[in-house]
């Protein structure tokens, strides 16, 4: 019965969480403002279906952070998409077991 629950269900949840906390502590936004934005996204996502508090929770979190970073011009959406695609190519072109780096696409 007692399988210990991991703190983060997936590594990317942890990365996203840490990224947001770090930006908050670096003074890029105040936490109550973050909570307000995040709450609005959750509400919007929750209208279509009940969110389970796992993957879908962090998907809403990611969407909120992406929108904020776009708004304050810290991360342009087109640049984000290009970088995401570059990471995808890097994974697909790196031999299994080797470390994946962005340079792999060059």
């Amino acid at each position: 019965m007692s399988i210990p629950e991991p703190v983060f269900e997936a590594p990317w949840h942890a990365q996203l969480f840490a990224l947001t906390v770090h930006l908050n502590e670096a003074g890029h936004f105040a936490w109550p403002d973050w909570a307000e934005r995040f709450s609005a996204t959750l509400k919007q996502h929750g209208m279509a279906r009940d969110l389970n508090g796992g993957d879908d929770y962090f998907t809403a979190w990611l969407e909120t952070l992406e929108a904020f970073l776009a708004e304050v011009e810290m991360a342009d959406p087109d640049a984000v998409e290009q970088t995401r695609a570059a990471w995808e190519r890097a994974y697909l072109s790196t031999e299994h077991g080797k470390p994946v780096t962005l340079d792999a696409t060059v």
Binding site: V21, L23, D50, L92, G97
Partner: protein, 226 residues
Amino acid sequence: MRGDFGVQAWTSRLLRGKLLHMPHDHHDHDHPHSLLPPAPALRVKALETILTQKGLLDPAALDEIIDTYENKIGPRNGAHVVAKAWSDPDFAARLHEDADKELSALGYYGRQGEHMVVVENTPETHNMVVCTLCSCYPWPLLGIPPGWYKSDAYRARAVREPRAVLADFGVSLPEQTAVRVWDSTAEVRYLVLPMRPRSTDGWSEEALMDLVTRDSMIGTGLAVQP
């Protein structure tokens, strides 16, 4: 018991996720390249790459934050506070008066624990905490909230039908006990001080800590009766 909150689905998905990430589960002959992480994971990596390139992010700081919450901070902190309050009436009184001051003195402060209110369960009142806004939670005392705390089901039902929610968690309270639900915000967070179990007179703080579950400090559980 907790099916309504998707806990079982959550756990089984988690197990499946674990299995999928086991090295021997990869079929190298079919996929000679590295296993592609899920789409959102790549979006997070993209943000990290861009912010790091701009000098706005220190990747080592992220590792430290993750390590803190995965390995250092968790409900044991809250359990320490509860056990101390059970053992030391003066501390309990001071905790009610000014929780922030007492918690800071114990080293449990900072990130999402700046304005704490401790609410004590009594035979007359059972307290339960929710965040209807998103998932505000006292990180320094309880760590990162469990999946069900963040689910729509819990967030919506805790306020509307707290007794039914408690029943789903296997908690039934006497009729005369009122249930009070506290809605956390980004500014104020709550810690429930559960009732001390019977027949624990003279127990050490250390021994009492083992009776304090995470759920008992959210109010969806009771302290363990030895």
